[in-house]
Symmetry: C2
Subunit: 284 residues, 2 copies
């Protein structure tokens, strides 16, 4: 397979840098082709602004979505953005790798999403009417490809558990996994999360590296998070609300948007998305 890793840490000699190298070596050892977008090393421009749309007249008002649509359709996006789009179309698998800062991506990676996920490419795809709200959430340009997060967090796993004070990790990552990756069509694999990132000794690092190698070996076979497809019939149109009665009893919030019953293991926890279970299984 062809794998693109988009990496977002300012220090190559960091845990993130080491885990990236582990992932690249593990993938190449299996014969996969790997490309890396190292955003800091590339000097990635983070902020959407007028300069992103060279064909927009200098004095024209910048409406980001409209400008993105026009530039994508006319082929006038900037070269750095075009290069990333080309990589996304090349890759069978996209991996976003980053330290969790304030429970989300570092700005440089958010800026990669903001700029590369153009209108007509990652959103605004397909028919938009009262009968169909576009090709998104399981359909779209990137459908048939896989995506996955590799995340480091300073806190403890318990702090990110179903009742942990930070909130469950799957819910914290939902705006990325569901809202950013599933939206343009990716099948999203359970995330790889390394906790206590600032407290690792060599043995702790080796354990995490070995767990990551395991995930890289199963990249093609790991079942994706079973998010519901927008156009599968589960959602009312145009209100896009989940039909009544489809969910497990007790499901609410983000968990509604994954099919759960068949994925729940005996004795599974209240937080029933597959990803949590898989991450824990991988930890054990």
């Amino acid at each position: 397979m062809k794998v693109l890793i988009v990496s977002a840490h300012p220090e190559p000699r960091s845990l993130n840098g080491s885990l990236r190298d582990v992932a690249v070596r593990a993938l190449e050892a299996q014969g996969h082709e790997v490309r890396v977008s190292d955003l800091y090393a590339q000097g990635w421009k983070s902020d959407v602004d007028h300069a992103d749309f060279p064909s927009l007249p200098t004095e024209a008002r910048l409406a980001p979505a409209a400008a993105s649509k026009q530039a994508f359709e006319s082929g006038t996006l900037t070269d750095d953005v075009k290069a990333e789009i080309e990589k996304l179309l090349w890759a069978d698998v996209l991996i976003l790798q980053f330290p969790l800062w304030w429970f989300s991506m570092p700005a440089i990676l958010k800026g990669w999403v903001d700029r590369v996920f153009a209108y007509g490419f990652a959103y605004g795809v397909g028919e938009h009417s009262d009968k169909r709200w576009g090709d998104r959430y399981g359909e779209g340009t990137l459908a048939g490809k896989r995506a996955m997060l590799i995340v480091t967090a300073g806190g403890w796993q318990e702090h990110y558990s179903a009742r942990g004070v930070n909130g469950p990790i799957d819910d914290l990552l939902f705006p990325i996994n569901h809202g950013t990756l599933y939206y343009p069509g990716y099948d999203v694999l359970p995330p790889f999360v390394a906790y206590k990132a600032d407290k690792l000794d060599e043995a702790g690092f080796q354990a995490i590296a070995e767990r990551l190698r395991g995930r890289m070996r199963t990249l093609a076979t790991t079942p994706p998070i079973p998010y519901r497809r927008q156009n599968s019939g589960d959602y009312l149109i145009p209100s896009m609300q989940l039909r009544a009665g489809l969910e497990d009893s007790g499901a609410s919030g983000f968990a509604l948007h994954a099919e759960q019953a068949e994925a729940r293991s005996p004795g599974g926890e209240a937080s029933s998305m597959r990803s949590t279970m898989d991450v824990r299984a991988a930890t054990a």
Copy 2:
């Protein structure tokens, strides 16, 4: 009161620009002092990197949290970051105003958080031991102050409702409201959200502007989201998991971390955080 608005849209002639002006005028009309950090106009630097820590030797490995701690304690943060910290200490109320891009903040605002919320200032505050996990989530440097989001979204309100395909707006904003604003101590008010942002006619804009003026008039009196304080006894230490039995039956995910029973209105919806109800009440 003193109010700081941090604003993050690249186009002054946008809905965000207009709403910012509405907010500033409404606040000043009540005699409040208002300062605005217009991140695009300031040319804000988004990305945490080595240049943020001038006292870190050039060849030294950059560990962002450790570098932030050292720079904050020694007074060697960069001038742009120091200026924002000074504004945060000055303000009684912080308002973050932004368009919702990929279900989160634009990169430039995330970069403001990443850089300004320094170790020792916004995190890493207070005793950290097996008996106490710092002053955070309701305590910390910014305790006693209020914070609030003003957000525009392209989608429909129904798409962000309790069963909407995007996920409930309160859950999508939880990493910001709870994880970023409540964390260093702010009392967080229910967010102001304007939907269908790209489809507004003049009457639609005026209705939203009037609703925003209402929120600005009640800035001092609106009850905050009743998040649970970390050190109130509701959480086990050091696992930081919510004790059993404190929540409403049926609550799960992020909703566990707000006290709910007394806030639920008769006939309230499954999504029971106060903010949703307040936003709807304000809409009606």
